[in-house]
Amino acid sequence: MRRSLTLTLFALILASGAAQAGPVGDISVGVFGGLSIPVLQDVSTSSFSPGDAFGATGSQFGMRAAIHAIPVITFEPYYAKSKYKDRDETIGGITYTRKGFDGKSYGLNAILGKPEGTGIHFFPYVGIGKTKLERTGQEINKTGYNFGLGLGISPAPKLSVQVRGEFAMVATGDTSRKFTNATVGLSYSLASGKGSK
């Protein structure tokens, strides 16, 4: 029962994305911001509880452009900056502070359907890019991957509000630094392509 419900939901999301295919040539630009939470980073397994899997909530903001170049798929180059909180830890009776990462990333998302459009619609997406995470004494500059699900609403012509939840990771050899992100964005349609109203 649960499995068929999940499959149905997945099919509806795909159908929703495909239904928002829209005309080829549309371009929109937007900004976004929200929360970014480290997952399974610098955890202590001796006193581990499920809540420890998520680190202190950080922030993320950035800009993106959606280019509807081919039917069904929208390509979305993006640039984002993130900031994570410092972490205090008592070791040997002394409390130390380890600085949180500052991150910069750019890349390209492939969105099924269009994030903009009329009504309320869902759109799944995957992306690849380059992410740089820096803090004192440590720098990670590697390929990043992400996938997620967005919800788009158009409150006015040419305007779109998007809420997205995504899972992102930076590959560090055989392992990765992982994050969950929840953002809200606002996009404005610049040009309508062939077949737009």
């Binding site: 610098d42 397994t45 081919i70 798929i73 130390y96 380890r98 799944p124 803090r135 004494g137 392992t175």
Partner: protein, 182 residues
């Protein structure tokens, strides 16, 4: 949809095929160090570390891929009237050297960390961020090799060669953040 609809699921499947990359994490392991003293005239103390004594390390040793973050922490007290630059050296095979010259003659010695300067007759708790910057490239590589190997090595705190020094380290700890595939 028929022509391009496969793109997203295919990309998602490719992402999931990464497997181990997804199912991984960074685990922090702290090793308490005994109090060290180091005196250019009377000798030095060493501490032999067996990483296997820590359950967190033991549980994850087979899945260890890399060292993500490192720090030598503690309270450094300079008993001398001139500033001292503290260095931490390791011997990749356990040892019990009592003098700096004996340590420097050990063929398995590697400079791990430092220098960390402590002012004349001063006590200073090192900052984690500053400590993370003081690891040498060779030291990181040696520590990773030990972490992936038998996990048994010795650490020494010493001053610069040829200079008089007298200092102690209390509440010391070696912190390793290890990258593990889960």
């Amino acid at each position: 949809m028929r022509r391009y609809g496969w793109t997203i699921p295919a990309l998602a499947l490719g992402l999931l095929a990464a497997g181990c990359i997804l199912t991984s994490g960074q685990i922090q392991v702290s090793f308490d160090l005994p109090n060290f003293t180091a005196n250019s005239a009377t000798g030095i103390d060493g501490a032999t570390i067996d990483l296997n004594s820590q359950k967190e390390y033991q549980d994850n040793k087979e899945k260890l891929k890399d060292l993500s973050d490192l720090a030598v922490l503690g309270k450094f007290t300079n008993n001398s009237s001139s500033a001292v630059n503290v260095e931490v050296w390791m011997t990749t095979t356990p040892s019990s050297h009592l003098t700096e010259s004996a340590l420097m003659n050990d063929p398995t010695r590697v400079k791990l960390w430092g220098p960390f300067q402590v002012g004349p007759s001063a006590t200073k708790v090192i900052d984690w961020n500053a400590s993370a910057q003081l690891f040498t490239t060779a030291g990181k590589a040696a520590l990773l090799s030990e972490a992936k190997g038998d996990g048994n090595f010795s650490l020494y705190a010493v001053g610069p060669a040829g200079v008089a020094y007298d200092f102690g380290v209390a509440n010391g700890a070696l912190v390793l953040v290890i990258d593990v595939g889960i």
